[in-house]
Point group: C2
Chain length 261, copies 2
Amino acid sequence: MTATDGPLPVVTIENREGGGPFLIVCEHASNHFPSAFGTLGLSKSARVAHIAWDPGALALARALSGALDAPLVSAGISRLIYDLNRPPHAPGAMAAKSELFDVPGNAEISGNERARRTEQIYLPFHAALHDAIAHRLAAGRPPVIVTVHSFTPVYFGKRRDVELGIIHDADPEFAEAVLAEAEGRTGLICRLNDPYSAADGVTHTLRLQATPYGLAHVMLEIRNDLLGDGAAVAEMAARLAPVLRAALSRMVAKTGERAAH
Amino acid sequence: MTATDGPLPVVTIENREGGGPFLIVCEHASNHFPSAFGTLGLSKSARVAHIAWDPGALALARALSGALDAPLVSAGISRLIYDLNRPPHAPGAMAAKSELFDVPGNAEISGNERARRTEQIYLPFHAALHDAIAHRLAAGRPPVIVTVHSFTPVYFGKRRDVELGIIHDADPEFAEAVLAEAEGRTGLICRLNDPYSAADGVTHTLRLQATPYGLAHVMLEIRNDLLGDGAAVAEMAARLAPVLRAALSRMVAKTGERAAH
């Protein structure tokens, strides 16, 4: 890193004191390649493609953060340098191949470089998220964790019809409530644990940050052609914010019912 | 904290580069009450009792760290100020009562004080442990996590006959291997998930640090009258180090067998 680079934009926390029940996370918010890591030998077109980030996810996460008065923890570095939703020993943490693209700078990554990215990106991002969650726990306000992702409409040449994927780690309860509300309210093609599920190793953030505390959680995957511009993002946020609120009410009511019996 | 206090002794890492397969953790190593937090209104006798720390646990953890060439991550502050094996929203994180003892300084703890202890003790301890684990993962050497505790022979006036408690979080495999080896090798009264189990909320460190990565793990609970002096500790370490080594071999052999079928 040169002296003029300044600190790495690993993590940003917006609306930190947001008083709502949710805490929003966006691990794949950015396709920034800081000069400290270079461009991994990728063409410009690869660096703006879905392999480098989740297009539209940060804008949607911000709109949800505003609508729900929720803190938002987002990353500022491309997932190809370090995929924050993967543990350091997963091949996908610093993927040598992503969908149809080779990532030359990750092809023969040294142990030192793997350790450096873990130290400089993975650890500070998850420490900041852990800090935000722990403060809510200490205050007696356990947050509901919502991670916001987008996926490509065409994957390995195949069209995906699902529009909203609703994914959970160990505890399905909140995700199931989100599915029920989303099906009733949005008109989107909604599916549980599709196009990915925990079995694909895509719930690392939830597993590391939500499950150990027994926090209600969901990972939202929105097909990125539905987040193509500001108007589309605003419309999607206006659909999804009420879904999340209603899903929480539904879950709380169910828990209360169980407690009463 | 006064200017002369220096940094809080929250966490110490010994033998950081230890090349063995284990990583040892000792959350209840110390009965130190830094002046920044005071003595919580406790008498001197309460501050040396088992409620303030796990007597003998650090000495045993050090001996095991040496015998197994394992990194050791230990805490330097009494569990009554913050119990690092509890999440911030658990009553037991800053317990107002521990066994027969009232803890006056925790009786009416403010939200600010709860946040301060979480920020100054819980978060940096677990960040340091996470860092040590993540580096091992990045290097392709996932560690087996062993937490070392001791328990009082008399609890609420009742004698406990168990001498070695072997406790696990979600994955029982390594703990069951430790039990089998300990029963065959030590002559101790050994029990699985006794005198406590995950259902009692005592596996927070494992749940936060080992389970999300699928790491093999065990929590060892040794009755503290068996750790009364240096000779007793050395003898216990000499019994337990071979148990841990053999348990790991047993688990690896079993995994290999499964893989071959």
